[in-house]
Amino acid sequence: MSGIIDQHRSTAFDEDLVLVDRVLEGDEEAFQTLYARYNDKVYAIAKGIVLDADEASDTVQEIFTLVFRKLNRFDRRARFSTWLFRISVNRSIQQARKLKHSRAQVPLTEAAERIEDTSHTPAPDPEVGAALHKMHPQDRAVLTLFYWDELSLQEIGESIGCSPNAAKTRLFRARERFRVQYEEEIGR
């Protein structure tokens, strides 16, 4: 019995929550720790959805600023990382929609070159970037969370606000759409 309780305590312990409490008490260093811990993943989400490195960096700053200001609204029903990823996905999709019109007028080759020019990306396959450009931000969000941040279906579901089964379905569809676009790009 005590073993079960100890096991529960050990799994329930979440270092992020300790950091959140410290931030709420006014310790800004604790937020720097959270930022360093999740910056890469949040950037990957923003980059995968927004597709532009500079815009993604700006979006990451906005996301962490939002989290810092609204941290008192984190209700702890989910893990901090899930709450953070959800904000990241929503904020990035908003940003992608804002950029959609201007991006639609940029030729795909130019867009692919712009991806290659970024300092954060080590020359990815241009066909991948072009295929991602043709997809909806929601589809890009699912692919990003699964392939780049390597989240489980449960975590993806919590991050985009659906059940794991729905997340699995969305992932399947997004992957199929990506495959179609990718094969078009490589001329298959």
Partner: protein
């Protein structure tokens, strides 16, 4: 290439695992899908490889400026609803403002032959407004409805005893919602009249025949009363004999009590006093007759 769902899902799992053992096992089972699997493995590798490796790590400095946030759906829906309501109210107000039927000049009035004009207040209140052609509530009450009753076709009831003609005309104007103008020369005599649920125009004609004036319709809501009568004009179904005749036409011919009878004798054509009261009658009494 359309694949069975199970093989499709299995191929994605193998491509994402990207281990030689699993790939060899899959190709051993489904050699026809070797090219497809190879393509997917390459695609997944490219997709995973497109991940930005590291973000530039700076210390986090929270922005002090406002962060633009998209309005929530609730506020967007509320705003759209309020805008639509404003448009509806503005349209309603504009229609009411420009509706000629609500022109204040249309107030029922009677002008007697001395030139004095009297405005007639709305005698029936809201019910009068709803049941006549003046309807400020609905935008277009005639859509899909039968033709509205014209003002001079309004059914009116006059029960007077020794009342001046001008007062009777004013009562007609009130009830029908019309404007009557009496030309000079019409005597304001004292009359006794009784009409029950008769059209206003028929009542005016009947009064005119008896008191020496002729109503001339000027507009849909205005009539001029001139002191002259047409001696050859046929009587209208407002009272007296013509109205009694109309009652007879309505009688059921199959009913033995109401069916057509032999032509009555001359002396029997006069109706009893009570029947006159029901059908409508006029008693002419000039102002000086009492004396």
């Amino acid at each position: 290439m359309k694949l069975p769902y199970e093989i499709d899902a299995l191929m994605w799992d193998v491509a994402e695992a990207d281990t030689p053992e699993l790939m060899e096992d899959f190709i051993g089972r489904y050699p026809q899908y070797k090219d497809e699997l190879t393509q997917r493995v390459k695609m997944v590798r490219q997709l995973k490889g497109a991940r930005p490796k590291t973000a530039v790590q700076h210390d986090f400095v929270p922005s002090t400026g406002p962060i633009h946030q998209a309005p929530s759906r609730f506020w967007m829906a509320t705003t759209v609803t309020m805008l639509m309501a404003a448009v509806v109210f503005a349209t309603y107000g504009a229609i009411n403002y420009f509706d000629p039927r609500l022109n204040p000049d249309d107030t029922p009035t009677v002008t007697d032959n001395s030139g004095q004009t009297q405005e007639v207040a709305n005698p029936k209140g809201p019910e009068f407004v709803e049941n006549t052609y003046i309807n400020p509530v609905s935008i277009d009450p005639n859509v899909g409805q039968p033709d509205p009753i014209k003002p001079f076709e309004q059914l009116i009831t006059i029960q007077t005893a020794r009342m001046s003609l001008m007062a009777v005309l004013q009562s007609i104007a009130q009830q029908a919602g019309v404007r009557l103008q009496a030309a000079p020369g019409i005597d304001d005599i004292e009359i006794t009249a009784s009409y029950a649920n008769q059209p206003a125009w028929a009542v005016l004609n009947d009064l005119g025949r008896n008191f020496g004036f002729t109503p001339l319709e000027q507009t849909e809501r205005e009539a001029l009363l001139i002191p002259a009568t047409d001696p050859i004009s046929p009587p209208e179904a407002a009272g007296g004999e013509s109205f009694a005749h109309e009652i007879d036409q309505d009688a059921d011919p199959e009913d033995p009590l109401e069916g057509p009878l032999d032509p009555p004798a001359e002396e029997e054509t006069e109706e009893p006093e009570e029947e006159k009261q029901d059908a409508g009658y006029i008693e002419i009494k000039k102002s000086g007759d009492d004396n």
